[in-house]
Symmetry: D2
Subunit: 267 residues, 4 copies
């Protein structure tokens, strides 16, 4: 029952300057709050709703920036991989390899990520039950890598809607044995909900994050951006950077209570 950690950053790496600016701001917030923070950003949005959606800076340009964030700011870095062949190269520049939810059953990708020895954060597919993730995690640990995180990010609920089943969090912990992360950003996504892009409801990020932390999780994943309404992807569900610190502060209080042995009665 270690204290809550945070995985945060902008959905995609828009430029070196943008990534460094957001990472620097997040580092300061984490220091003020005394909380562990992993910087997350994607070098390639490989599964956009539509082919016309911006995909990010790309692997070649992004890797030096990842390395720079790690070395100059001292922040651990997470990014997602989409094909087995990418894993080795990406692993040289980041600390955590993330498996996207749609790809969580792709055996070769899981094995390649496992083989890097890096921490692997695997997102639960929207089409899976929480107990199904034990098989997914076993593919990674069976590949000789015990450093696995599992992330809840909502389950398909009718068309263009996800629902977050809070029972999933203890079920994931019990059946996989891995630390459980709650992705508060993508859980409020409305997949395909805007026609050629996914919609989202940013107002529910704190709602679901509070619920998950009260249930008890190892970490929360929150995408944040200085100007979400003009971000190239996931804008509708990213938290404005100016609201990020207060949100995390509140989550830390819930986390302390969730993990306390015997809380005092309120006066």
């Amino acid at each position: 029952d270690r204290p809550l950690s945070i995985i945060a950053g902008p959905c995609q790496m828009e430029s070196r300057a943008h990534a460094l600016e957001v990472a620097g701001a997040l580092k300061e917030i984490a220091a003020r709050l005394n909380i562990g923070l992993v910087f997350k950003t994607s070098f390639d949005k490989a599964n956009r709703t539509s082919a016309s959606g911006a995909r990010g800076l790309g692997l070649k340009q992004a890797l030096p920036v990842f390395a720079e964030i790690g070395s100059s700011l001292g922040l651990p870095v997470l990014t997602d991989v989409h094909e087995a062949a990418q894993c080795t190269e990406v692993a040289q520049a980041v600390d955590v390899l993330q498996i996207p939810a749609f790809l969580c059953r792709q055996t070769d990708l899981l094995l390649a990520a496992a083989a890097t020895g890096k921490v692997v954060n695997v997102k639960k597919g929207q089409f899976l039950a929480p107990w199904d993730m034990a098989n997914v995690v076993a593919k990674i640990t069976g590949g000789g890598n015990p450093n696995v995180l599992v992330t809840e990010r909502g389950a398909s609920f009718g068309y263009n809607t996800l629902v977050s089943d809070m029972r999933s969090l203890p079920i994931l912990a019990r059946t996989t044995g891995a630390p459980v992360i709650f992705d508060a950003t993508h859980s409020v996504q409305q997949p395909g909900g805007n026609g050629t892009s996914s919609g989202g409801e940013r107002e529910f990020v704190p709602v679901l994050a509070r619920a998950a932390v009260a249930v008890g999780v190892a970490g929360v994943f929150i995408e944040t951006h200085p100007d979400p309404d003009h971000a190239p992807s996931d804008g509708p569900n990213m938290v404005p950077l100016r609201e990020f610190e207060a949100l995390v502060r509140r989550l830390m209080a819930f986390d302390a209570l969730a993990k306390a042995a015997d809380p005092a009665l309120p006066k």
Copy 2:
């Protein structure tokens, strides 16, 4: 943002002695914790999965017991009604009339309950979206009764399963204007899951209750029983009475934090 209240009691009234025993125990717990508590029990389980399921003591025998609990213990009492013709008589013995989820669209029942002037607690149908409840509440307030509570108790999710969407809680509050109750007992029900009765997963009652209170609710509904495994109905999802006080104590701590203006950082 008044402090959390609790609606609690055994699923059905098994006997006068049983009801008084549980009500007495709950009154003591509520006094120790300094929390508002409404005693809940059903005089008739009118929609059991199977015709062979026990239905409870019945209206005639139950009404004097309801009145006795109110007068001798000073606890407010809630029970559910199933036909319009019952409302007037039941209202004479209880403080809150509850509309079962399956019946939340039955206009005559809602109007009859409204006409008693009592508080009406209407449960959200498993087949409704949270925003659909505005029309349901309007049937009651349009009948001249502003004293309405709305209760979230899960949404249908595939077969024999319910899921609790925590976004529903703020949506219900905003769209109906009524205080929102989270029913932690029936949200963990597996409807029809045992063939001729409904299953349930008691272990998830605290999980979902904590999540809901962290999001922010006016009250939590928790069925409790001295010996749930031998209860005539809803045994699989009732909380053992001996665990009830610790559960509520923990929920009160989450509630205080959820409603605090500016929580301190954990040390």
Copy 3:
């Protein structure tokens, strides 16, 4: 494997003249097609989305019209009941008592309907799995009435949407032993989808009806109206009366094929 029957009529009885006009037209169509047809209309829409929705002619005015349709046109008549106390009286004027989907678990209503000895058509709740209906049917047959029909009308699928699981049709037949009806009208409903009324997608009525008949059913339920766009309820999902005959004719061809022992190859 008897040939397909049809249950059809306008959603609610708007007036004596309107009911007789539609019933007369349906009788002529049924005679031309040589198909068994039961006339359906509701005397009271007791669970409208909103209290301001029109509810129909009411019990007292409707019963003589039901009797007149039966005696003057020779059409069997079906209508729905909502409270146990209505069953005896309604049974004197109609041939089939229908239990609405929301009420399919209300034991007293099922028993009262069973006690009339009339055929009881019970709709599967949107919140039930098909195998759950065995318990519902057992309440009626256990009440001494073997004349039960079960109707599939869609299952909750996220918010404001229903989905028709075609596997449900053989499962209902096998687990209940009763003839299975497919309600093509309410299966395309979008519950609460228009804010203060339910939406629907009339264009999918033939789609789902064809699918169900190809799977194999005893009957199809289709609401029809001379002018659905101006009907007081269920307009969005009623079939225009002028399209009804061609639709049923096509369904009859699918039905013959579905029930044929060994169909010839198309040339």
Copy 4:
């Protein structure tokens, strides 16, 4: 409204002999029935539930067998691809590249498949609404390849269950403009339903196939095997080869009726 085609074969290529045996049997059946048939088998099951599941013969061994089936039997061949880098090589040996449902949003894979100029059959993700597939198809046609098929294979419905929404078939046709295939095999899958493998309910393959053909589709996808109960994958939902001909014969009769301008009344 061309007559129905069939995509059929064993889930995975178990050996050269096995593939040729089944392909030969299917070719004879197709000739007897005078129906277009595409032979389907997978060289690699890249997303098994568990890492211990058999994955098939592999790319290198399978490609010559695909080519042999095409040249010696004259059957067009379909297989699925999982990474962009495979597309060019696989395209040299087969006629149709299939995109697995989990991967239907992976832009690079879609573009690589499109670039081969072969027909691309893309399966609808279990997590997508039918109208979301317009964006998926646009990725392929935007890549300069107009030869696209879209396949319905069920939507997530709670945990470990899929449901086939028959409305999806006309919606896919209208919104994508592509011929629509109904995958009757994977639509009856119970994902993860057996713990370390997916379950299935073979008995519902004809049920859903009949429904889909009655609605109207360009083709049906049916996995078949001489001994499904001993097949290394998807056994629970494959049709025994000895039942295949009668099933297709029946589907052809439904197809002729579905596409007939004005069917005669049954006598």
